[in-house]
Symmetry: C3
């Protein structure tokens, strides 16, 4: 029953931290992006059971954003947390801010935009804490690079949240290297991650400096759509078909039947040690994917998959 089981989550070690300063996350993270539509996650009671299931599998970190579920996913998760009733400290909660959606929930919005103003960040985090029913998040991310970001103003708000304890660590999402460098130049504390789109079919971070910077700053990335957003399995493109065939071939050699798990192992093989954010709302899938955390893909297998995705051998 949710909340009654005692969990012994995997003992975190330095290897499982995003950054020397923290936070410690589980090897894979569950993302609440589509929780409100998930058959196993769309009510507080179901989500509480799902949460229990994740913890049993070794997933203790949960990725949110103010905007997920049309501004409703955090609230659903907060209700689930109450039903669950376990210790807050057994979980790591990540949330994000700065995207402003066109939504009935936000009638004042007339255009989709970003808002990295200090005042907005403070208000957004306060709302997220209320929604989640907690007094801190382990990690706050700026969701998208705001072309109107005033870095002094934004950094000041982040520093205030850190000092006040509402936020334990800060990072960014979808930021390119010069955007990371700019914000870091004004912050008193290190950005601990850049949550990016990265998968066997989204290779840009390997070559555009994003992962080079992550390694240089010793900041582990998080990866959203770590399975290529679904298109990988529907064979929507030549790239998807070639890549899926390579995942199956490598999987056969590794003794792993599920190509999605091989795709995660491919991603996690990168020396920056990306943490995948799983979007599935089916616990059986989560269980399967968790195998990726204990696989170590061989170098040549990794390049076979890269070659299939790129459609040509490396230069």
């Amino acid at each position: 029953m949710p909340g009654t089981a005692t969990h012994s989550p995997p003992v975190p070690d330095a290897q499982s931290c995003l950054h020397a300063e923290g936070p410690r996350l589980s090897p894979l993270v569950w993302g609440a992006w589509r929780s409100r539509e998930g058959e196993e996650t769309d009510t507080p009671a179901k989500l509480a059971r799902f949460l229990d299931g994740c913890l049993e599998l070794g997933i203790s970190s949960f990725d949110h954003a103010d905007i997920y579920g049309d501004y409703g996913a955090e609230t659903l998760f907060g209700q689930a947390l109450k039903e669950w009733g376990g210790r807050r400290s057994a979980l790591q909660l990540v949330t994000k801010c700065d995207i402003a959606l066109l939504s009935p929930q936000r009638p004042s919005h007339v255009v989709k935009h970003y808002n990295s103003c200090g005042d907005h960040i403070l208000a957004s985090v306060e709302q997220s804490l209320r929604n989640l029913g907690t007094d801190y998040v382990d990690l706050l991310l700026l969701h998208r690079p705001d072309p109107l970001m005033n870095p002094d103003n934004t950094a000041d708000a982040l520093d205030r949240l850190l000092r006040g304890g509402m936020v334990r660590h800060v990072g960014v999402s979808n930021h390119n290297p010069s955007q990371v460098r700019l914000l870091q130049s004004r912050l008193g504390r290190p950005l601990v991650t850049n949550q990016i789109e990265f998968s066997v079919t989204t290779l840009a971070p390997l070559f555009d400096g994003t992962l080079d910077q992550a390694l240089e700053l010793r900041m582990r990335p998080m990866a959203w759509s770590p399975l290529g957003g679904g298109g990988l399995f529907t064979g929507a493109t030549d790239q998807a078909r070639r890549t899926l065939a390579a995942l199956e071939a490598v999987g056969a050699e590794m003794g792993v039947a599920d190509p999605g798990t091989v795709a995660l192992a491919w991603l996690m093989r990168h020396p920056s040690r990306p943490v995948p954010v799983l979007g599935t709302s089916r616990l059986a899938r989560v269980r399967t994917y968790m195998q990726a955390a204990s696989l170590k893909m061989q170098r040549q297998h990794w390049f076979q998959i890269l070659q299939a995705s790129q459609g040509h051998e490396v230069p």
Copy 2:
């Protein structure tokens, strides 16, 4: 009458400096690029009156280059300055060097090229000072990145000009981040600006690291063709038509009838606080555009215009 009026230019403050080290410029700058063809600027007497008009409007900074007007615009301006007769210290003069045009004025040129050699820079500035009839410029810019720049040699010349007082501050124009970083690595003084093409229809600097770097270095950019080079108003492209419609819609909400003024307010809203360089030679237009300096565009209005220019909402 030119030269007889006493001007009280707006009191400069730290906010109006390009950089902590200076110089203080007016909120908008008038550019002499096309002065020799301008109906109100094509003779010394007319240009002296135009200069008076600019000062009355609060524009005290004037942008030049050795090559403007086929190497003749500085001389025209110098003649106008004599007719005007006011205090040199009431003005800020910017000039540039390093482009070498094919021109009857430079018979030794056989190909358009750049020249960032120390000797050329020193000679070019000496000539500019003679043309302008002044013993210093407030700001000297390298006009284009020279692929043959020897950064030690170039920096040495710039440092000599700074020490000698012929040039009060130095900067660059049209340089990308790695070009800025290279030159800065050899200079004893900070580059105070990067004068770039930036407008509602030229958005690249928002995304290619140019404005990130300006913010990181606390170096305000200057913006040339801040109205999109004219194409914005002729509806030459779908982008221009969409953007103009958005400028008009936002202008209606802001109570600003002129879309060009809204375009300038959009540009000046960027946190790097770009200084537009106006290319118009009509004082009535300058008067209209000066309103942009006292407008503060709302965030959503800014994104409405961005979305119109890009043709899609932000990700």
Copy 3:
């Protein structure tokens, strides 16, 4: 006879070093890439004579890689060195590692890949030393940026090779600026070069930050395919035809009949002072190309050739 002549190679000076820390290379370098197919270089005896010829011309630096000649070019060169019999210290040997080819020589390879693992680097260098019959190389380069590079592990291996004296200096090849920055951030010694593709028809390094970084780090690049890989002379493209015509026109003004020599002078005119790696296996060609080392191309000639290659004048 090879090995019997006494050579007095050009006295090296600070100008001829790739970096303040070394190594000193000859103004041009001969590359062994295609030595096994070269009419004058395909046997140890012939190659020993060729080596003598190079030294007489002032070329004392030789560029290798483990993979050249299907993993056989280093061995051929080592055999030639024995026949030659001169002093090892009269030569500078460069080699590379980290590309893994599909080859009968490497039956374990199932896909072309890269390998920057410390263990692989150490084993590869040991093999190169055995092949070349020497106990050190003057310069070791990482041949291609490995997307799986663990920079700590790679840097550790390079530092060990440097401390052990098997490798006198280290550098990279085909690395972009963020890849250079990453590896440098973990190395105790400076990377002394980036060997890149650069020529009159391969202009990207001028504009993508590669040469800016080389200048900033005071690290001279080496240039492979410095003549455009041959396509320049076969008129394979419009760009090649325009560029060749410009090389001939400029050559006529410089009194240099050979357009390849003009192309090398163009390349060597860059302020980063690139060192061309010659791919020809004909000593007569090498003799011709060596003239480039004593030419200093005029600025306008350089831009005439740039304009021809780009197909338009500079902005």
